[in-house]
Amino acid sequence: MAKHAVMANKESQPVLRLSGVSKSFGGFTAVDNVSFDLPNGAIGGLIGPNGAGKTTLFNTLAGMIEADSGQVVLGETPIHDLPPHQIFTAGLARTFQIPRPFQEMTVLENVMTVPASQAGEQFWNNILRPRKVAREEQANREQALSIIDFCDLTRVRGDAAASLSGGQLKLLELARVLMADPKVILLDEPAAGINPSLMVTLVDKIVELNKRGYTFLIIEHNMEVVMSICDPIMVMAQGKLIYRGDAEGARRDPAVLDAYLGDLP
């Protein structure tokens, strides 16, 4: 959780660079030659109408589906050819639009699963070096509990993830990625389906985390959220990136207004 503070310096060098990313399903182009940079320390917003290709773009960035073409560079590392687990360890973490918890595991262990290279993940260490495993688990547990607390999940920390509400699952998605101290966190509609008061908390948390140095790229339909905390804003429509700039510019951009049929909510 302790992350060296990186100031949200707007024109600092990009931490994530996409160039010419495309993905088709059969004859249908879901992501069409998308290029943009995300500055280090930013909260980027990725918006666009339903079916614009936003989630598909996240899936290609995270390696869950292979892009047909294009490059993705995280920091200095090209990640477009890596499998999902290596993309995560390289420092790009994502959450899911529809939460995907480990249902039959406790909230605590959903979160404790995340840290990479735990000694106890080598099965033999559990027999040969039980003390080392126990020590690491203790530290892992403490870190997990503090993140769970940060995400307001303390009350349900011992419950199976299967028993959580939709909003709690969204928070669990966030808690899991926070365990890893990633360079960039992709959030797919973090506020969808959560109640308005929780929404305010969530937005506060994202801003607080950003102040601690986390870089975000957020897909979100709630324009109030996007317009108030995101910069830059990227707009996708029919697979293409049609706008990249600040919130004010998006409100006036003809292509953006056109994509949203004239009324940007």
């Binding site: 687990h85 995907r100 605590l108 262990e109």
Partner: protein, 315 residues
Amino acid sequence: MTGVISYLVFFLILALILSIAVLGLNLQWGFTGLFNAGVAGFIAVGAYVMAILTGPARDAVFGGFGLPFAVGLIGAMVAAGFAALLVGLVTLRLKGEYLAVATFGIAVTIQLVCLNWEYVTGGTLGLISIPNPARALADGPLAQNTLYLLIVVLVGSLAFWCFERIVQSPWGRMLKAIREDEEAAASLGKNPTRIRLESFVIGCMAMGLSGALYVGFIGYVSPSDFLPIVTFQIWTMLIVGGSANNRGAVLGAIIVWAVWTTSGFVISKLVPTEIQAQGGAMQAILIGLILVLMLLGRPRGLIGERISVSRHARF
């Protein structure tokens, strides 16, 4: 009275030997969600390797190295693990029912190899006169069997302890994460291929150990001991006892083996001799019935799984 005790000892030896294979399947299916439908094949590998390593030398047949019992057990585990590694490297990308079909086919292939590769396996006759270490150390069948039971309890307890250790841990947590949602686990940095392979290999090593202890006890190995019905029995034991719980795996082995042997006895006493030949089929139907009833009425088994995995993450 001694008759009852002898029988009980005999029964427990076989039930506990089988329970080790159930522990292996529990790792694969219970914790990792790998559908291994070829359990009998990996038991067979362990059994034959045990026979080859510890059996007496014989003409025209490979092996018969006369090595010590313990070496046989270890060799059997290594061989079954190696076979699993080969199988795993080709099949573990296959998931769910595809993996089931592939492993089933492999087990049938292994059984056919045992039946036909006479130079190594002795063909239909199998390999006989495998030394039972208890025979050398005790007099009389009851004392010998009791001693062998002690060996099985020791080896089984060690296996059980190892399984509990490696499963109630961050490693076990990864297995379960893969079982619950492989893509989500991968997106959180876990390598599903590696994890599935480890679980598969270790589970099959337990099956090999089980086969080796079986051969060490009965003193011979024959291809007819490794038909698909064995896989079916092991699966039923796991489902009855409770998937993803090692104690459930052992309990299920004892209960299902008790039902199996009792039903065999009852059938031999009550069923008219003309249809005695179908006795085995009746037993299989009975086991199938238990499996179905269990899946309908108590799908989590007698002892269900606990939701915390690691020993260090309980409340």
